[in-house]
């Protein structure tokens, strides 16, 4: 019941906002912020009551909608989707609170945002593939409207491109889902079955797995986005209103990575193992290509958009490293990227509201005029660069450690992403914030208001918090990641590398006492004992 309620809450909120009296437009903003807090609280409640260390899905619900077609309202949350719904809840509230400048058709805007939230939550909670597909598609509509109605000058082109790219992927996804549903139906004695957990019992042939992997994979690759399907993203980001960009980068892209994790790895394990290297390569191309292209972008928002391509490359690499560290790190990057990139889009939105331009060259020296803004921007830049002590580092570091074990060359190449990230972000910072204020239009800029600071502070706190103490997050992710790897190991002949599974790593506190006693000659023996 809890999860259904979680999905319904934003819809109820949308109804409330929709029925606000026409003559009281000033109510729309505060009420929208208010109702957006409800799903946030609900997602935090679920996080609080989530049992740590328990593999499998929790808070599961299963209501049959069609017996013969095997369709059900099936929901559940595990350690991966848990963080996705919490992230959705947090970013949605902040994005709505950051939408004060929307004055045109505010009500429709807020309703779109809340419907979008319901769709996103549904995507992450569905344990029925038809349900998943429905939510996956529902998300498109409000996002299309957000870009197409409240977007920038080129919004029509960007919104159409966004829909076409995703729709292109969705066709394959739908086909794939139907094929596997028929197969599952065969096994269950019904026409079709869309029950995800039942599909896990299927034994698909390698060829079938390969085709289905590709069908699902194209849809997810477009969403992530993976090179070369990424070109919709910079356009969509640049044209979307601030809140749209925040959700797009913060949550929507994660649908793709989540899809790979949830469905491709578990339903098509053999294909995943076979294609891991290729997908790793695509991930690394994304890391380096996205970063390189970001460096020279003249538009700050476009720059951050390309940086997303780079960060999401780390997620892909981590996932297809097929090690505990890679997968856990990948999920952590998803969370961290949502927070930092979301914050960067909020920040760019705030300066855009003051100067109505996103061109880096229009700025210069504004740290002098807007010191608080500059300080927070620099903080977020470093969080995105992956500075230790902040969230970005934990994920990328773990991904790199985890992927070196299976894909060493790719991991070494991916490591150069840490250099490029510093190049594009610090160069942008230098051009926008340092030096003398040359453009007179920048002289009178006002620093952040209390409301704007209040939107950013929670993100700062979380980014530092999970950067210094990521354990609570990782402890919840890890069992769910282990389930995925267990399944791959059980159904294929894949052998994870030594130390590639979390239970194999050497815990210093366990070994150190024995190390102290070891003498030079006994080193080899000590190694055998622990190995």
């Amino acid at each position: 019941m809890e999860l259904t309620l979680l999905i319904i809450l934003p819809l109820l909120g949308a109804l409330v906002v929709g029925f606000l009296p026409k003559r009281r437009p000033e109510l729309i903003f505060p009420v929208s912020v208010g109702v957006s807090i409800l799903p946030l609280v609900a997602s935090l409640w679920i996080m609080w009551n989530f049992t740590v260390g328990e593999a499998g899905f929790q808070f599961t619900e299963d209501y049959t909608l069609s017996e013969s077609l095997g369709i059900g309202w099936r929901l559940g949350v595990d350690g991966i989707s848990l963080w996705m719904i919490v992230l959705t809840g947090i970013l949605m509230t902040l994005a709505i609170a950051g939408s004060k400048s929307i004055t045109d058709r505010t009500k429709q805007y807020m309703v779109s945002m809340l419907v979008l939230e319901a769709g996103l939550l549904g995507v992450f909670l569905s344990l029925d593939l038809l349900l998943f597909f429905a939510f996956f598609e529902i998300v498109l509509v409000p996002m299309y409207l957000l870009i197409g109605i409240w977007g920038g000058e080129n919004r029509k082109y960007a919104s159409i491109k966004f829909v076409l790219f995703t729709a292109f992927g969705s066709i394959f996804l739908l086909a794939g889902i139907i094929v596997i549903a028929i197969t599952a139906g065969d096994a269950a004695g019904t026409i079709t079955s869309f029950d995800f957990r039942q599909m896990l019992t299927l034994d698909l042939s390698p060829t079938t797995q390969l085709w289905l992997f590709l069908a699902f994979g194209i849809a997810f690759a477009v969403k992530v986005p993976m090179f070369p399907f990424h070109t919709w993203l910079p356009d969509a980001h640049t044209e979307a209103p601030t809140a749209g960009s925040v959700i797009l980068a913060g949550v929507l892209l994660k649908m793709g990575a989540y899809g790979f994790l949830r469905f491709n790895l578990t339903l098509f394990p053999q294909a995943s193992v076979d294609l891991a290297q290729i997908l790793g390569i695509i991930g690394v191309i994304g890391i380096i290509y996205g970063a390189a292209v970001a460096i020279v972008q003249p538009d700050a928002k476009r720059l951050v958009a390309y940086s997303s391509v780079s960060h999401m490359g780390f997620v892909v690499l981590g996932i297809f490293a097929l090690t505990s560290q890679g997968l856990s790190g990948g999920v952590f990057v998803m969370i961290s990227h949502g927070l930092t990139t979301g914050a960067l889009f909020l920040l760019i939105g705030m300066i855009y509201e003051r100067r109505h331009t996103r061109m880096i060259s229009e700025y210069g020296g504004i740290a002098k005029v807007m010191p608080i803004y500059a300080g927070i921007f620099l903080f977020m830049a470093f969080a995105s660069i992956g500075l230790p002590g902040l969230s970005g580092f934990i994920g990328e570091f773990t991904v790199l450690i985890g992927s070196y074990m299976t894909l060493p060359v790719l991991a070494i190449l991916a490591g150069s992403g840490v250099i490029l990230a510093a190049v594009y972000l610090l160069w942008m910072y230098e051009r926008m914030f340092t030096g003398p204020v040359l453009n007179p239009k920048n002289e009178g800029l006002s620093d952040l208001s209390f409301r704007e600071i209040a939107i950013l502070v929670p993100l700062i706190v979380i980014i530092i918090g999970i950067g210094i103490y990521p354990k609570p997050v990782l402890d919840r992710i890890e069992p769910s990641v282990e389930v995925i790897l267990d399944r791959i190991q059980a159904t294929t002949d894949y052998q994870p590398p030594e130390y590639g599974r979390a239970d194999e790593i050497v815990q210093p506190q366990d070994v150190r006492s024995e190390i102290v006693g070891e003498h030079a000659g006994e080193e080899a023996q000590g190694e055998e004992e622990s190995g």
Binding site: E137, I419, G435, V506
Partner: protein, 623 residues
């Protein structure tokens, strides 16, 4: 009390947080004193905790919390003589520089912010030296880079300062990439990043090839942080930061991180003779190369910057020779005399209203006696004049090179030549600044600095003079102190008394020659005109920056521009858009756009889905 070791890191970080958020309210000079106190307390704690090592106390591992469980990385600290010594240098010299800055930064708009960043640096550096695993060390490694960035570009309204900060961070990141790769390799080989386990098992786990690969990647990290060839280019630019920053971060502490790291991981380097040879050679070449650049600088801080690179070269050479104690010894003596040189230079710059060109100084000894006397002590110390600190530590390194024999004698020769050049450029600096004619602007009114600045100078001068006596061939105090930290590593063996004395005499002779040459050239009235030829090239840093700009930066930018503006737009986007189906859909959709195209899309999806389901239902009988 050892359980509270983490306070060493936490207190300065708390200070940083407080001063960055609330600094404006705390104001000047309270924020300076607050920051200094939060370095002084860790210093006192470090002293108390370090005393037991003199009596042979055991190494302590202090577990704080579980950090990244999935790679078995804990936030846990190591307290052994080496980390203790580093912590003492960082908090001791750091504390003095904090106090100095109270006077130096007087009147700056962002005075509290400065101290916030300084505290952030101290906390980060202590993380680096106290970490008991590679992951946590990497945290400190990166965070000192952050503090360095923030402090170099502290006066960000000056474009050159902002650019210098960015350059420092990015060049350091190139080194960090190497460090990161080494960490990946270590984890893959050992399943942990814990120092104790990795070092104990290294001999059994690593082949020579793997050890070489790992240590070379670690060394790439060291060349970035410790400004060695070819990644040294950020350090001269880093002089854009306020002078106390140059003293603390870019002379005494942060730049020595690479030396510390190699000493700490010596158990791995020991397995890779090739890496050690590379390290020693790069160190020696850097020492010589940078010394030749120091000779030609006019800016007093630039002389000291190149001098720092050169001295770091000595230290790197030492650890490459597995003369670990010698390397750490020089690290320590250098921390005192180089911090002193920078602070004294800062005192001069302060007195001369920000003039840094030595050609516009001269005759200052009468106006700033304390600064003059302390700087003379530092000059003698760095030149290696008996019995000041630099003499002992430098000679120990040269002795180690000699002792290794073979082609390492060549490194010894490079070291001796560098010593000559060092004596020369330092004498040049002292004469140009304090002796001869006044060449300054008649409006300048040089004066001695306030006591918050001169007292730290005097304390540092005392140590720069005497600290060398801690470790002399007669009484190897430091070597005994550090023994537990290096017990698993075979250090280069010591030389006989006769050889030591002979070598010491050679280097003393060389130093004397260097000083006399400089006196001959600069100390007798008319100054030589230094332009053209070598002098122009040296001022330009031999054009290395230009070279990097042409060979790396410009092509990189061109490639990125081509990727972004041509390839991404025309090729990738073009092909994807050009896919037949999409193009068609795109073309027609553009037309139906205004007529509610989304609705038709939505309807299409729904209709399509229903159709498929219907189809399934109809052929249901087949199942």
């Amino acid at each position: 009390m050892i359980d509270y070791l983490w306070l060493l890191i936490a207190l300065p970080l708390l200070g940083a947080l407080t001063l960055i958020v609330l600094g404006k309210r705390i104001g000047e000079p309270a924020s300076g004193w607050l920051a200094s106190t939060l370095v002084a307390i860790p210093f006192i704690m470090a002293v108390i905790l370090a005393v037991p090592f003199a009596g042979g106390a055991e190494t302590e591992h202090v577990y704080v919390f579980s950090w990244i469980p999935v790679i078995g990385a804990n936030a846990s600290l190591l307290w052994d003589p080496l980390s203790a010594l580093m912590a003492l240098i960082v908090t001791g010299v750091g504390g003095l520089i904090h106090i100095y800055s109270i006077g130096y930064m007087h009147g700056d708009d962002r005075y509290p912010r400065f101290f916030g960043y300084m505290n952030l640096f101290i906390g980060s550096m202590l993380t680096l030296v106290l970490a008991d695993n590679f992951a946590l060390m990497f945290v400190g490694w990166e965070l000192v880079g952050l503090s360095s960035y923030l402090l170099i570009s502290f006066w960000f309204s000056k474009p050159s300062a902002a650019a210098a900060g960015k350059k420092a961070f990015i060049v350091n990141r190139i080194g960090d990439w190497g460090f990161l790769v080494a960490l990946m390799m270590i984890f893959a080989a050992f399943g942990t990043l814990d120092f104790a386990i990795v070092f104990a098992r290294a001999g059994g786990v690593l082949s020579v090839g793997m050890a070489t690969a790992i240590t070379l990647m670690l060394f790439v990290g060291a060349t970035g942080k410790s400004a060695q060839l070819p990644l040294y280019v950020w350090l001269p630019d880093a002089m854009e930061g306020p002078t106390p920053v140059s003293a603390l971060i870019h002379a005494a502490t942060m730049v020595t991180a690479g030396v510390y790291m190699i000493a700490r991981t010596a158990a791995l380097f020991e397995l890779a003779p090739v890496s050690l040879a590379v390290v020693a050679t790069v160190g020696a070449l850097t020492a010589l190369f940078a010394a030749t650049l120091a000779v030609g600088q006019r800016d007093i801080k630039k002389v000291l910057a190149y001098s720092t690179i050169s001295q770091l070269g000595y230290m790197i050479m030492a650890v490459g020779l597995t003369a670990l104690t010698a390397g750490i010894f020089h690290l320590m003596t250098h921390a005192f005399f180089k911090a002193l040189l920078f602070l004294a230079a800062g005192s001069v710059i302060h007195a001369m209203s920000s003039e840094q060109d030595m050609w516009k100084m001269g005759g200052l000894r009468k106006y700033m006696p304390t600064t003059f006397v302390t700087m003379v002590i530092a000059w003698l110390a760095i030149s290696g004049v008996f019995p000041l600190s630099g003499f002992w530590s430098k000679d120990e390194i040269l002795g180690a090179a000699f002792a290794k024999g073979g082609w390492f004698i060549g490194l010894w020769a490079i070291g001796v030549i560098t010593a000559l050049i060092t004596a020369f450029y330092m004498t040049r600096l002292i004469i140009l600044t304090f002796f001869g004619e006044k060449r300054w602007d008649p409006d300048a009114h040089p004066h001695e600095s306030p006591s918050t600045m001169t007292i730290p100078l005097m304390v540092l001068a005392f140590f720069a003079a005497v600290i060398g006596l801690w470790n002399t061939p007669v009484r190897l105090g430091l070597e005994h102190f550090l023994e537990p930290a290096f017990e698993n590593v075979t250090q280069v063996h010591a030389l006989g008394n006769l050889t030591v004395t002979a070598l010491a005499l050679i280097s003393l002779a060389v130093v004397t020659v260097g000083i006399l040459l400089a006196y001959h050239r600069y100390g007798r009235g008319e100054l030589p005109a230094e332009d053209g030829g070598y002098w122009a090239a040296a001022l330009d840093g031999y054009g290395v920056d230009d070279l990097y700009g042409k060979v790396i930066v410009a092509p990189g930018k061109a490639a990125a521009t081509w990727l972004a503006m041509i390839f991404d737009v025309r090729v990738v986007d073009g092909i994807v858009n050009g896919l037949a189906v999409v193009t068609k859909a795109f073309g027609s959709s553009l037309r139906v756009l205004q007529t509610g195209w989304v609705r038709s899309y939505g309807a299409g999806i729904v209709a399509g889905s229903l159709g498929v389901i219907l189809w399934l239902l109809l052929r249901g009988g087949a199942f």
